[in-house]
């Protein structure tokens, strides 16, 4: 039976998305991303010279600072920083400007569930705004597993607490590939998972169910991103 959600959304329906870029003056790139009430601000300070202590000088290095809404930086924030850093490192081209450090600062404005995916989307938007060379964009989604086996997308805080388990999944965004369909080997590129973090126990096929539903949602998310960025281009070219 269909499960009903407080705010009346269908299981696969996302909360209203809003993304605005170039909102701060000091950083080289900035973006604010909100999914429903969860709102995150991301700022990127462009490639600065020199890499940190244990980093590899031949590659560009990323430094992540996660500013929680309140309270000091605990272990959870450190884990988010690590996940975000590795995700961003995998989608950016690292060999373009070696021996540089790009610092990405994530400021949580309000947390109403699926905070990490919202932060990843915000970080991608900010990186694009800063003009950091990237292979492809990343699209993040949170899939919640209800106790009766249904998968719910983009839960808010209450739903996240109520559900038995949830998974943060990050996919590459769907590319309007110009190459003929059969050229990419095996499954098309955007079916691969960049990052997956799960909380709570779920069976193996439940996990695959989450991945399927999450992947289906990436199409709408990528479309939103593409439209938002192009529309952004037109304004800046007009005002530029």
């Amino acid at each position: 039976m269909e499960i009903d959600r407080e705010d009346g959304r269908t299981p696969n329906q996302l909360r209203p998305l809003a993304c605005s870029r170039n909102i701060l003056h000091r950083p080289h790139g900035s973006a604010s991303w909100s999914q429903g009430d969860t709102k995150v601000l991301a700022a990127v300070y462009g490639p600065k010279a020199g890499t940190k202590k244990n980093e590899n000088p031949e590659k560009a290095c990323f430094e992540l600072i996660w500013k929680p809404k309140s309270g000091q930086i605990g272990k959870a924030e450190k884990e988010y920083e690590m996940i975000l850093k590795r995700t961003i490192q995998s989608i950016c081209v690292l060999t373009v400007n070696p021996n540089t450090t790009t610092s990405v600062i994530i400021q949580v404005v309000h947390d109403d569930g699926s905070l990490l995916p919202c932060a990843i989307n915000a970080a991608c938007a900010a990186l694009v705004d800063a003009g950091i060379p990237m292979k492809h964009l990343a699209v993040a989604i949170c899939c919640c597993l209800a106790d009766n086996g249904y998968v719910v997308l983009d839960p808010n805080k209450l739903e996240e607490k109520k559900m038995t388990a949830f998974a943060y999944l990050v996919f590459p965004n769907t590319t309007l590939s110009v190459l003929p369909e059969g050229s990419s080997e095996g499954e098309p590129v955007e079916h691969g998972l960049i990052t997956s973090v799960t909380y709570g126990v779920m069976s193996v096929d439940d996990y695959f169910l989450c991945v399927e539903n999450g992947r289906a949602a990436t199409a709408s998310l990528s479309a939103f991103i593409r439209k938002n960025f192009q529309q952004g281009q037109r304004d800046s070219s007009k005002s530029g």
């Binding site: 884990e79 998974a167 079916h191 998972l193 960049i194 990052t195 997956s196 909380y199 126990v201 996990y207």
Partner: protein
Amino acid sequence: MGLPDSSQDLSSEMEVDAFRKIFPLRFFERHLSESLRPDGRPLGKARDTIVNLGLVSSADGSALAKIGYTTMLAAIRMEVMTPSTDSPDEGCIAVEFHMPPICSPTVRPGRPADAAPVISKRLLDTISSCNMIDLKELCLVSGKAAWMGYLDIYCLDADGALFDAALLSAVAAFSNLQIPVVALNDNGRIVAITGEEKQDNASITEKEAVNKERRKLTLKNIPFSLTCILHKNYILADPTAEEESIMDTLVTVVLDSSDQIVSFNKSGGNALAHTSAIKSCVELAKKRGNELKQILGEMDVD
């Protein structure tokens, strides 16, 4: 990974370790093509694992886990706390993962390693989400006193797959845990009744031992974890530190005794995890889980 291809003519007459140092990825890929690894292990095989229990006399439960060279020492100290009002009859577990400067060259004495808080957070999530321990068993006097278990894990030698060894040592330490016999003395404080204290402890009579029978924790749902590396279409199980530094796509699968996924962690890395790769990772993890269950099983016997 665009390493210059000029290595073709160079590598012919260079001896092995120089080639390994200068072109690490080519060195590894040449091994992978024969589905072998530099230390002779096939791709899917984990390093040999040793667990021994009860090494630290000053702790209530302790264990040493060694996977290949990666060595973890876990110890549990039981202390008494007043439980919080919203869960009056539940104790709690505090997990802390330390990477002392002795374990790897990258760790400086002053600043803690940046991987340490991440691993301790994941350990706490794993242990609590698979509810291996029923927190109700940690209760002494409902509402007034309960056990707080301080689990401290020290990495003595960091050679890759730190999370697997840490989880294994934590599980082994819990299986070795001996909860001290305690009693409530007159002014409401919990006091341990140790053997030789019995005679001269005058007020022993009216304070009955609160937890005479519950000395061992029943571990219901034991989690086992396996870390694999995805590289092109190879999957390497249980990587060493060198392999982790060269190929950076790490997937950690944690299964519990009923083969449910407790956590499936893949953070970044330039190889994408397709469903086929995920399936084979889970298979490897199942196989590894049985191996570890068997090793821990022998432990409990002796």
